[in-house]
Symmetry: D3
Subunit: 323 residues, 6 copies
Amino acid sequence: MYVDLPPDRLREYRAEREAPADFAEFWEQSLAEARTHPLGLQVTAVDTPIRTLDTYDVVFHGYDGHPIRAWLKTPKDATGPLPVVVEFPGYGNGRGDVVESLEWASAGFAHLSMDARGQGAAGSRAGATPDPVGSAPSHPGFMTRGIEDPATYYYRRVIVDAVRAVEAARALDIADPERVAVVGGSQGGGLALAAAGLVDGLAGVVSCVPFLCHIDRAITITDAHPYAEITKYLSIHRTKAPAVLRTLSYIDGVHFAARATAPALLTVGLMDPVCPPSTVFAAYNAYAGPKDLLVWPYNAHEGGGVEDLRASMAFLAPLLDGR
Amino acid sequence: MYVDLPPDRLREYRAEREAPADFAEFWEQSLAEARTHPLGLQVTAVDTPIRTLDTYDVVFHGYDGHPIRAWLKTPKDATGPLPVVVEFPGYGNGRGDVVESLEWASAGFAHLSMDARGQGAAGSRAGATPDPVGSAPSHPGFMTRGIEDPATYYYRRVIVDAVRAVEAARALDIADPERVAVVGGSQGGGLALAAAGLVDGLAGVVSCVPFLCHIDRAITITDAHPYAEITKYLSIHRTKAPAVLRTLSYIDGVHFAARATAPALLTVGLMDPVCPPSTVFAAYNAYAGPKDLLVWPYNAHEGGGVEDLRASMAFLAPLLDGR
Amino acid sequence: MYVDLPPDRLREYRAEREAPADFAEFWEQSLAEARTHPLGLQVTAVDTPIRTLDTYDVVFHGYDGHPIRAWLKTPKDATGPLPVVVEFPGYGNGRGDVVESLEWASAGFAHLSMDARGQGAAGSRAGATPDPVGSAPSHPGFMTRGIEDPATYYYRRVIVDAVRAVEAARALDIADPERVAVVGGSQGGGLALAAAGLVDGLAGVVSCVPFLCHIDRAITITDAHPYAEITKYLSIHRTKAPAVLRTLSYIDGVHFAARATAPALLTVGLMDPVCPPSTVFAAYNAYAGPKDLLVWPYNAHEGGGVEDLRASMAFLAPLLDGR
Amino acid sequence: MYVDLPPDRLREYRAEREAPADFAEFWEQSLAEARTHPLGLQVTAVDTPIRTLDTYDVVFHGYDGHPIRAWLKTPKDATGPLPVVVEFPGYGNGRGDVVESLEWASAGFAHLSMDARGQGAAGSRAGATPDPVGSAPSHPGFMTRGIEDPATYYYRRVIVDAVRAVEAARALDIADPERVAVVGGSQGGGLALAAAGLVDGLAGVVSCVPFLCHIDRAITITDAHPYAEITKYLSIHRTKAPAVLRTLSYIDGVHFAARATAPALLTVGLMDPVCPPSTVFAAYNAYAGPKDLLVWPYNAHEGGGVEDLRASMAFLAPLLDGR
Amino acid sequence: MYVDLPPDRLREYRAEREAPADFAEFWEQSLAEARTHPLGLQVTAVDTPIRTLDTYDVVFHGYDGHPIRAWLKTPKDATGPLPVVVEFPGYGNGRGDVVESLEWASAGFAHLSMDARGQGAAGSRAGATPDPVGSAPSHPGFMTRGIEDPATYYYRRVIVDAVRAVEAARALDIADPERVAVVGGSQGGGLALAAAGLVDGLAGVVSCVPFLCHIDRAITITDAHPYAEITKYLSIHRTKAPAVLRTLSYIDGVHFAARATAPALLTVGLMDPVCPPSTVFAAYNAYAGPKDLLVWPYNAHEGGGVEDLRASMAFLAPLLDGR
Amino acid sequence: MYVDLPPDRLREYRAEREAPADFAEFWEQSLAEARTHPLGLQVTAVDTPIRTLDTYDVVFHGYDGHPIRAWLKTPKDATGPLPVVVEFPGYGNGRGDVVESLEWASAGFAHLSMDARGQGAAGSRAGATPDPVGSAPSHPGFMTRGIEDPATYYYRRVIVDAVRAVEAARALDIADPERVAVVGGSQGGGLALAAAGLVDGLAGVVSCVPFLCHIDRAITITDAHPYAEITKYLSIHRTKAPAVLRTLSYIDGVHFAARATAPALLTVGLMDPVCPPSTVFAAYNAYAGPKDLLVWPYNAHEGGGVEDLRASMAFLAPLLDGR
């Protein structure tokens, strides 16, 4: 069943809230701090059962110089320069195992699949990157760690990591730094929008059923996790709603979308209770670059699934030809 | 939590029921009938975004000569002869999309992924093969179609299809017919055991968290679907239990296992309510060929997941070297 | 709680979609094909513990000449001509046992209770009629069998069976063919509307909490089964929505209602998530014959239950007096 | 799935607890008190749509002389003497509507269907009999009303009503007092056992999936309602377990069974979490009269359903012939 | 997630229904009848482990002179006159244990915590007061006992008890009868509103997330218990809705609120499915005295929890100073 | 329903696993490291509405010198020396608000209620103490933070904090350091056992329905949270079970119990799925000091609730008299 506004109202749905006045400054400063640490890119070939691809264990330095792990996969013996697809994981997942997620590299791209720090022990794909930063009291999960201040918020760190992942991708020997795209679904889709808003010159953005969009609305229209972590937090720390909502406004995909310029493909499921469609439409309608949206009327949070993957590949295929 | 006997009792658990006296005859006759139809193998190259593999749309004739679809994937420009991994799908799933399930071909095998007739509209991977045969009254799902007689039972048809899939695999131009293995998880694992019991000369059998084993016990120790379809059927057709249990005895993985000779790898999750561990141990302990078992103490029906895949690849890796 | 529009909006709710242009032709042709087979009516007395009624096992030929079973119950030693109540079963149910459903015959009617082919192993009443027709990949259940083409759709067959059941009722020795009514609840109510739209000269139509009405809307406003089978199908076969919606438009109760002329009684529960009230109001408001509607504000899919039965009996009572 | 001991252990399962020493005295006194009130039998013909039966609204005086309502149904124009089937309702239900429950009278019996005082607003069949007695604090439902003392316990009143219903049945003009049987399912089955233990000369006892048996065990092996009402009560009134268990020992079907002499048919579902099978076997194995047990291996609380009804009719059929 | 109207519409939401014409007369008469019985106040010191408070077991006579129990707690060796906080319990709860609910007395008030007759075996706090009055058939719980007539309705009795509790409070030796406030949450909040509408001269009213407000709407917008008891009742006793709604109109908090004059503090959770916010706003907007409302956007039925307690204490703190 | 072994087997149930060889050394070293930081005790009076108690905001230095917050409550104007009850919170909770948890101080004790670092945003009582330490990938919650090494495990830090809380209690001006007891329920009960095993000279230990006992078993017999966090972690990090189980063996209450000497009161609910009874009996049977156990047969994780509180107060009451 539809879980949100009717389709015709979704089409025009826009968020009303503005980004905080110092939004750009906040992120400039956050990235500047991270860049005081060297990128520290390490790329180590690993032996795997996959014969059609080359696989590398990648480490780079993210927020506060913390080491972040990723897998790099490339077509066997490719020489490059290759377009790079930087992928961000869904909530609870990490970069997974080397025998998983072969699609992008098999399609001819260099594929850099990043861990979300501290995650990777709840979904289906394991992570290998610690988050060395602690937190004030938080609800189980990652959504409310350090949430009372943008400076300490968990997603500040992850978004800085995501931007640094793009920088790492561009620094790869095999990469064509002009042809770097970001992709992801759910949390990964939210991080792709964040990267789109913070990184110049991306060749493409794919954000499937994105999470972390129009969060102030999301927490009032769904009780599904992980948005519900925030609601639960506020149900106990009742007087902290203003601080929490302020923090969230710094990482909301709607505000990143409004600052993006790269061509983007978004997707949305009209029966998605996890990332309700109006929150995705709010991001889509705010998106400032060229854009397209795939609407799946009968899907929940799986969205277009393999159809989203196929559409993403078609959307980014021109990059393989050097465009 | 553990959902079945304690681990030490599982280790030695055996089913007590015998196969029906005419078990072998039933299957010989079923296969002989199918073989009165030509195999009708068609292999058609298809265009896909996957550049590291060649993909083919395969059709062969299964039970009663019905056309069955499969995907064949091989490493790009491989010349063969290659070992072939024949994969059977999990319940509700079909062969899926060409951009899914790249692992086996990327690891160097020819990979033939078969539809389960009529399925492919409930899991995550779509099917493309009809089941043209109707049924007496049945519970929603596939478990009870034609269940009151082995001759009309749905799984008789699917198992014949599975055997014919192995024959199709051996008939592929690129195949080394001496190096054909069967793999699958859940329903696919049950079908792999069936193939192991019905086909001579298989090079390997991988059966992860197999379904369709020790079914008479399974329906008394779990209320999870799809075994529950049988229980629900019997809860309404109360007087048909003897006929139904008789039918099931012809397709029980325990009896196929007792007739198998190829080396096999099985896996089991001790917290799996869908395919409870004692039913898997019953099949493993009955298995007549060389065998190994991976026991995952803290997993439900996902079993070893990517670890199962890695172990399967290691188990079948010698085939890539011609062994 | 109310599960749909508020009561005042329900009252005027109408579906906007038109029937397909060839709707009438489709059904004329479907029925003409069925009528190329003889009706093949067989009526066999059966021995039961019920002393106040005579019970007969009835077989007639439905779609494609397939045999369809029904129970005929009449007051003990009744000589006729009697009015006949033809009843269609709810989803998952069949005609049941001879000691069940004594109400209509005990009230003085001849009662012909038909099986829904292939069903009768999921509700509480067993069926005895196979559906010999197979299907392309389908979601567990009956809703999506052959759903991509009206010609192959499961409900095409069942609706033809329902029309033939009325023809069988009229052909019974004991029947007054001018006094035949159709009744049913849920799926049975949907089939009663279909019969009302396809059969001339019915003496009455009772459709309680009907299923199969305004289906295109139903699948967007409820996630309850069995409508959800369609949604699940479309969530996997994502590109097939146009074909599926087209097929459904041929069996939608709203379109049958618009072609009906017999006096009808419908009922609806305002808290019914299975057959949401707006879909029933859409059928009621489209109904072209004399009509009445019982609205149960505090009921879910049980609707008026025994009150619906009593009202149905009162509605059809004039038939007992020859009217 | 099986919800209790394995079948072979069920077969021999017996409760270990003894009835309280004054069990017989308690009931003699309770009945004697009730009999200080006249039976007050009133039988009033009612007009119904059911033409094959005569229906009467019956009132008699039960516990403390409170009026208890029942329906009497007899085959149309029957003259008697007829055997009488006294039926007790399932938990939450009352005698229902006159157009329901036609089976027993249609099979030739006089059928007296009693209300359970205060119930009839939770199941599917409405009741019409108040319970004018209040209660100390109780958990929602009827299980814990007055539970701290056998003298004030709700079921003391209902069981007295049930015995008085048999007396009312024997006093009916149309009845053969030598041919009175008691029947019921779930709570009704428990009340049938109570009647069997308290009334002499019953012609038969049918107790399907009986509730209220081996209650001290039941509350430790299931968390299903209505047994769970007791557990919830004890979870709050923690120090009252001895008093509560003592009270329950006065109404436990196991103790009534041990005092019964009439021939009995019991039924049980091995997958019944509401009335777990060991509690039914305990009653069956304690039953002191001739007895039979129908075991349904794949059924939950629906037990044998229509098969139970058919078996009950066959079991009591000899009464129709005057035996 | 928000479970009701959007916040801006809630702010102005008003119930449209009028109180019954004889509302005032009904309650005057009900209270007059109760007052024909002496108040019968008994106050007995009890020994507890709590050293900072004095605790007394209180009994007074409520509806029909039935004895009602309460705890009185006062600061150790307080001499008075003290302001008294009369507290009514949440649904299913009673006055609890003497070591619970120390807050109000520890804050300096005399605290009189009343039982709700018959309750106290379902929540977490036990009750000790029987309800000696029986009922016509009712749904499990207290909501539908005697519901077809205001004269027999359960809540008529409880509300009379609540008014008598205030009278008992004023009659306490230690009390300043000019400084008596009523407080409660959920059911207790509903009873506080009832007392506010029926008692003159209250010094304050605290009604947290009140139950029993705008009940006719509540039963159509939530399926949560205990409102759902009413819906379930009506789903079986389908023809009794007018009588039931009439009864409920006599105990609806909206109508009491419209007659109140004392200063009041109400609270509401916008995510509360148990007492949906529009029903609380309806009561608040109808409240005729000075008033304030705490709105908790992210809370369910726990409402403001400890923040509600703190706000209540601040609201009533002036009473401690003799105001 | 009982959720574990039958009561007679529980009585004698013992864990078989030994503590790690360096268990004592591990904790000596952990505590020694913490003690390299000054205790840093700060006690600041706070203004509250509670007039019968004095309340203080307490900070002390725990693991690695991190500041840990607690509330100290004492009877108004008490001069001491007083016995001190140190309380540890349940999972997800913190020290709460000053108007909560008045019982111990009201009973005459000094009551020191400690935060669990990082918690206090999931239960009902808020926390105010950060955990500044990050973690490798973890499952949502606190159970798996740093779980692959005892040195980095979250509970190492919390247990050190708990020991330091006792030291802080003894250092309070008002305290009699010879009369310090530790109490807690669930996680708090597990921490009380840990303190009992690590601190000499405690005057009493109250551990209600303790968590964190016989953890290796717990994760195989329940799927309830929070134990399930560990199972979920292991279901993804499949190869880490040995490391994880090793870590857990350092914080298992069974091993602390075996080292305890202070008199203890434990409680257990036989229907507790959160802390299954065999795990509590294992701790109780291992407990090396004087001990008593309250067994609540019909309770889940609420255990004895207020009865546990009363029993705890009675158990510790002699301390008030200086014993």
